[in-house]
């Protein structure tokens, strides 16, 4: 009898799990269940449709229906998994017509993702507080802009908050961003690097209020404004970008254990504490490579790699997910920001003693037309001189430097190794001295 693999969730993690399972087992019956109308689209692309860089929300569908057909994957959309019985090895579902079904599995992969979260703020039940997580969310925001919204308040200056803020600005809205912490991109950048991003955004005409707490939503039934640290701000669009929480209710009800991060606890094979049940993506806890402590990166790249591992294992193969560094990158207007490993702030939280080196350089030879600024910060653990993190802000060429440093961290390279890196050079594409090498040299000088 063919193996029955059931996957709850059909986006980055779920579809990659299904594809990997199919590659491993050509005869398995693979079923994906999602409560959304559309499966297999890129959530990360949503802000860039709103900003107008991508022509339509439908362009974000990476895996159309025919992909599932070609791969012989059975896809159930607008179908909600309501419970899991880990003893009988079944999943209960209900579709949009209310029809229920019991689907048996040999292996189950939970990729239920995460949902936008609003902290307990007075008036949070009011209508019209937008968030951006699903394609439908994006369409809702787009309609609101088209209806003539002129002003927007975004609560939260993380990646989604700022990407959406830029999109709103591109669409002609007057944008205010409110962030509780004293800096923008607090997960991604140290304060002095975040300052560069904040100033750039302010120069574009945004109002960025850091260190301000949202205390209340104003308005009768419909939210029309907020009070942030005593100050009233009214806006046509109110967007919640406080963050996301792992969707774990289904798993918890089935007796599947959560970890420290309140996401589903997994091992290196992406197995949960229950036999033949795996968890991947934004709902699954993983291990930080440097800290060796539970981590919840909630990033697309992590989701697909975890999905692949779980898919192979669920199909009877053997694969390991060796943890993450939280490597992330974004583009805000013409500025790219990237991170890998720990910021100094995060390193201190984990009791690492660190030394950092920061270099400002250009993305091409100084004299070459079009050279753009780039700033590289390296974070090194003091005693071992091991590289533990990097942040880069620049006009171009940020991503692949982040990827190279990520690899250096994974291979446990130290500042001296990096300072000796053999790099390439030509005036139209980079400087003679690679800024990453210079930053490593700066660290070495500080360690002397």
């Amino acid at each position: 009898m063919p193996k029955r693999i059931v996957i709850i969730g059909a986006h980055a993690a779920g579809v990659d799990a299904a594809s990997a399972a199919r590659k491993k087992d050509r005869t398995a019956e693979i079923t994906l269940i999602t409560d959304e109308e559309h499966a297999g689209y890129s959530r990360c692309g949503l802000p860039f449709v709103l900003g107008g860089q991508i022509p339509s929300f439908k362009s974000l569908i990476v895996f159309p229906q025919t992909y599932f057909q070609m791969m012989k994957l059975s896809l159930k959309t607008e179908t909600k998994a309501t419970s899991i019985d880990t003893t009988k090895k079944t999943v209960e579902t209900v579709d949009k017509h209310g029809k229920t079904e019991t689907i048996p599995y040999d292996s189950l992969i939970i990729s239920t993702g995460a949902s936008s979260f609003i902290p307990p703020i007075k008036g949070k039940e009011k209508k019209g507080i937008l968030s951006l997580r699903t394609l439908e969310d994006g369409e809702r925001i787009d309609r609101a802009i088209k209806k003539g919204a002129k002003t927007a308040v975004i609560m939260g200056a993380g990646l989604i908050g700022l990407e959406t803020a830029v999109a709103f600005h591109e669409r002609g809205l007057k944008v205010t961003v409110v962030e509780m912490l004293p800096q923008v991109l607090p997960q991604m950048l140290d304060p002095e690097m975040a300052r560069i991003v904040q100033e750039m955004l302010e120069q574009k005409g945004m109002t960025i209020l850091t260190g301000k707490c949202v205390e209340e939503f104003l308005g009768k039934d419909e939210a029309t404004g907020i009070i942030a640290s005593g100050e009233q701000i009214n806006a046509d669009l109110l967007m919640s970008a406080f963050g996301v929480r792992a969707n774990t209710q289904l798993a918890v009800s089935a007796g599947i254990a959560l970890g420290e991060t309140k996401a589903i606890k997994t091992n290196a094979r992406m197995e949960t504490n229950v036999k033949d049940v795996y968890a991947v993506g934004d709902c699954a806890e993983t291990m930080g490579i440097i800290t060796q402590k539970p981590a919840l990166p909630q990033l697309g790249t992590v989701a697909v790699r975890e999905g692949k591992v779980a898919g192979i294992n669920a199909a009877g193969g053997y694969a390991l997910f060796t943890g993450g560094l939280g490597s992330a990158v974004t583009r805000l207007f013409d500025t790219d920001c990237g991170v890998t490993g720990l910021t100094e702030t995060a390193a201190q939280r984990f009791k690492f003693e660190t030394v950092s080196g920061t270099i400002s350089s250009k993305t091409r030879a100084e004299y070459y037309p079009g050279a753009l600024p780039i700033k590289v910060k390296l974070v090194v653990e003091k005693e071992s001189q091991r590289l533990v993190g990097a942040q880069i802000i620049g006009g171009e060429e940020v991503t692949q430097r982040i990827n190279a440093i990520s690899l250096a961290i994974q291979k446990q390279m130290n500042a001296r190794d990096l300072a000796k890196a053999d790099t390439a050079y030509a005036p139209p594409v980079c400087e003679t001295w690679e800024p990453v090498v210079l930053a490593a040299e700066m660290v070495l000088m500080k360690l002397r």
Binding site: S19, K23, R26, Q65
Partner: protein, 135 residues
């Protein structure tokens, strides 16, 4: 030739809903995968094809194509005896991405029941219409 949502559909070929094409060449039929199929699969790295002298039968899998991230069965558009297998595709599977209607044909078969089977396939016009419905 028409381009529908980024995928080519060519005149003179018959098509299946399993993303294959068949071209009648005298008393032989050449078969392969469509442009739409190769685009869905992306970077194709492996093609598993049967040997000449064996037979294939309509609507039945006869091999697989595998890309970095995906794998799909090859489903025969017509029945018949395999006369030729494209060795070049087996050594250079990336040809399937580059030229699915040309250099990357898969098999040449001697059809066993062509007239009855052809009517079950889509012609150019029907295929073009069908490609428009693919989401």
């Amino acid at each position: 030739m028409v381009n529908i949502n980024g995928s080519e559909v060519r005149e003179g070929l018959y098509y299946t809903k399993e993303f294959e094409w068949a071209k009648v060449e005298g008393d032989k039929v050449r078969i392969g995968i469509t442009d739409y199929a190769q685009k869905q699969l992306r970077e194709i790295v492996y093609a598993e094809l049967p040997s000449s002298g064996t037979t294939i039968s309509q609507n039945t899998p006869y091999g697989t194509v595998e890309s970095v991230k995906a794998v799909s069965d090859l489903v025969a558009p017509v029945s018949g005896e395999i006369l030729e297998v494209n060795q070049e595709v087996q050594s250079k599977p990336e040809l399937l991405n580059e030229d699915p209607y040309g250099k990357a044909w898969l098999l040449v078969v001697k059809p066993s029941n062509l007239q009855d089977e052809l009517v079950k396939l889509m012609d150019f016009n029907k295929s073009a219409e069908w490609h428009k419905t693919l989401k």
